[in-house]
Symmetry: C2
Subunit: 410 residues, 2 copies
């Protein structure tokens, strides 16, 4: 029997419940920074050096004592004796700049002791080992100050945080080649359904190929810090399924199942959750994806997704991924989004969150969006052929034709 | 000497030139679909089956002949003889529905021959092996029609295309377990600069640690279909560098270098490009990242990036990545973006494209953005600590305080 709205949990409430009832404990490991991309930083990272480690020139020119150049002008140039050239990487103490002296300097090179500013080539004229300077320069003019990027001891990266290229870059900038990250989140994936067959195998009866499993697998993998362990397709055999689920729970932090959530399907996974554990959420006020549920067995979460591909995908986007980010204390990464004008009215049943696949395109210089297919949680081509989706929130009756709405891009 | 705007190429022109002068030929390989995520589809993928392969029920109920139910109502129910139950996966020819007959059916099960519609449980009452039906149903009512998702021979995925989870799902839905993709784009990465040292090694003189190299490496890797071959840091030795560049060009489709692009730096990479090849673009009208250049050696592109991390990163985002997507015939993936109100004026030199790192946050229910650091192409912490960036296009004098602008999220 279809469940009534009253017994379904709203998506925000479901995520809230999940975040309170689920705790995931990930081990910490040390990895080389080149292997840390998209993994979760486990310990706050503090700078171990000043960056730059010394005052350095931000231009090509001459390192000088600013006091020597007071009053310098085209008509009244100051002449300094050039002691040599200092380049990036050179020892800063290669030369000392005394009164009336200068050192030629390249961008990025350290300021020699005694100097406190750099005049640009453009404001000088070189004559053998002397330079005429036509303009004064303030103290620290054209100088990047020591520690202006970061200073030793400064908190640079707060844990937990998904490591991005610039994060890895800044760890490297400190001369640190390894970093402490959490082990990947291990997710066991179990596909159920007596009608489901793996690609490459002959279909029997009215069997169909497993598409939902691959969609879910690769969507979970896209999170970056996950490792999906695929247990394959289970036909309707409670004992085999219970054994697989028990094994998957032992070997993983989280288990995800697809299928077996509709009444007529035999409800095998639901029976096992009720037998071995308890419900966190049983059914959500969402379309498609209403049967999406969360069980808790031996302290570990089991996310039950629909066997239908689109409903399974909305279950992932609306519930599974947000719950995982929340439980791990991570900010959910932003999704590409545009504003577009709706070509048609999109009604909604208040209380439900609806996911509508749309096509979005430019028309007369404006972005417009139109639903690609309003129903059909089994229509996978609707995800492939649409290029965006609209989320209608729980608390609205939908959107009007002509309304400007948020469209997430696929 | 700083180059004048007149001799610099605008970013759109540079991408255009690159797309015309560079051609990259990638080999094709067959991979398992589970290994195909984020790789580039090499051949159009057409459906090899109908999906669904048969008319199937979209509800739980009874498969019937719609003609039998004409005039059915609460007061005048039609009574049908139930021949049995058909479930998903069952052979469709398990039962045949004749006049006055029905077959109980679960969601997803195939319609038995003879039937052309399904009445829902809610509109029936079961009495032993008979069912009273209280409502008529149109032909194909509650039926998902054969091929409504896709039909055999239909073009499902057009090549080239970066394969996403739903793409892999739809290939699986066809029972196909392998797919033809392009080999990964091999990118050789060479870091130059006599002042640059690798993390984990002691610094000498005014040396600094290689951060730009790791930022570039991991940013290129984030494209998904790339494999970065890292050749390490080269101090100022033209012969060694030339040898490495030649080897990198032989072994990769593309070479990226950092450093050695400023006048004072010795210009080693520039000298080698001029010695062995030609320029596609030499310097771009962009801030930061003006020295970003593209050379062509033996028909292969060399992208020259600044040694400064932020300038190297803008060179990647503005030029290298767009050029690669364009040359490979791919649409560049959308970036997460929000609209925010500028807290300050952002002036721009017309002709230049400027990349401004910003902080964006919510204030009085609106998103606002403020530059995090206006200058400093060497200030890596500005990328780590900002959470977005604004691109000021070439043809504008900048943005006004209070203006609503696009902010790309980091």
């Amino acid at each position: 029997m279809p469940k009534l709205l009253g017994s379904l949990t709203s998506i925000p409430e479901a995520v809230e419940k999940a975040s309170k009832m689920i705790s995931i404990s990930l081990g910490v490991r040390r990895v080389e920074i080149v292997d840390a991309q998209d993994l979760i930083l486990a310990r706050d990272f503090h700078a171990v050096i000043d960056q730059p480690r010394f005052d350095r020139s931000s231009v090509d020119g001459y390192a000088v004592r600013s006091i020597d150049l007071v009053g310098a002008s085209i008509n009244n140039p100051v002449v300094l004796r050039v002691k040599g050239l200092i380049k990036p990487g050179d020892d800063p103490s290669k030369y000392v700049v005394g009164p009336g002296e200068a050192v030629e300097i390249h961008t990025g090179a350290p300021l020699p002791p005694g100097s406190d500013a750099v005049v640009m080539y453009e404001d000088t004229r070189r004559i053998n080992d002397e330079v005429e300077v036509y303009r004064p320069v303030p103290r620290y003019g054209n100088v990047s100050r020591r520690a202006e990027d970061f200073h030793r001891g400064e908190l640079l990266l707060k844990a937990p945080r998904i490591l991005k290229p610039w994060d890895i870059g800044i760890i490297a900038a400190n001369g640190v080649g390894e970093v402490e990250v959490y082990e990947p989140l291990r997710i066991g994936l179990i596909i159920t359904g007596s009608e489901v067959y793996e690609p490459g195998h002959p279909l029997r009866g009215s069997g169909l190929y497993n598409s939902t499993g691959y969609l879910v697998w690769k969507t979970l993998e896209s999170m970056g810090f996950t490792r999906v362990h695929y247990y394959g397709v289970f036909h309707d055999d409670t004992d085999l399924l219970k054994e697989a689920l028990t094994r998957a729970l032992q070997d993983n932090h989280v288990v995800v199942t697809t299928g077996g959530t509709s009444v007529s399907d035999g409800d095998l996974v639901r029976d096992i959750v009720e037998d071995l554990g308890e419900w966190i959420v049983r059914g959500v006020a969402m379309r498609p994806g209403r049967p999406t549920s969360i069980g808790l067995i031996n302290g570990k979460p089991v996310f039950l997704l629909s066997g239908y591909p689109v409903a399974a995908w909305t279950g992932l986007e609306a519930l599974v991924k947000p719950a995982i980010y929340r439980v791990l204390g991570l900010e959910e990464p932003a999704k590409p989004m545009v504003k577009a004008v709706l070509k048609v009215k999109l009604p909604n049943v208040v209380g439900y969150r609806s996911y509508i696949r749309v096509r979005v395109w430019e028309e007369d210089g404006k972005l417009v969006a139109e639903p690609y297919m309003l129903k059909g949680s089994g229509i996978l081509s609707s995800l492939v052929k649409s290029n965006g989706y609209i989320v209608i929130p729980e608390n609205t009756e939908g959107f009007m034709e002509g309304e400007l709405v948020d469209v997430y891009l696929l």
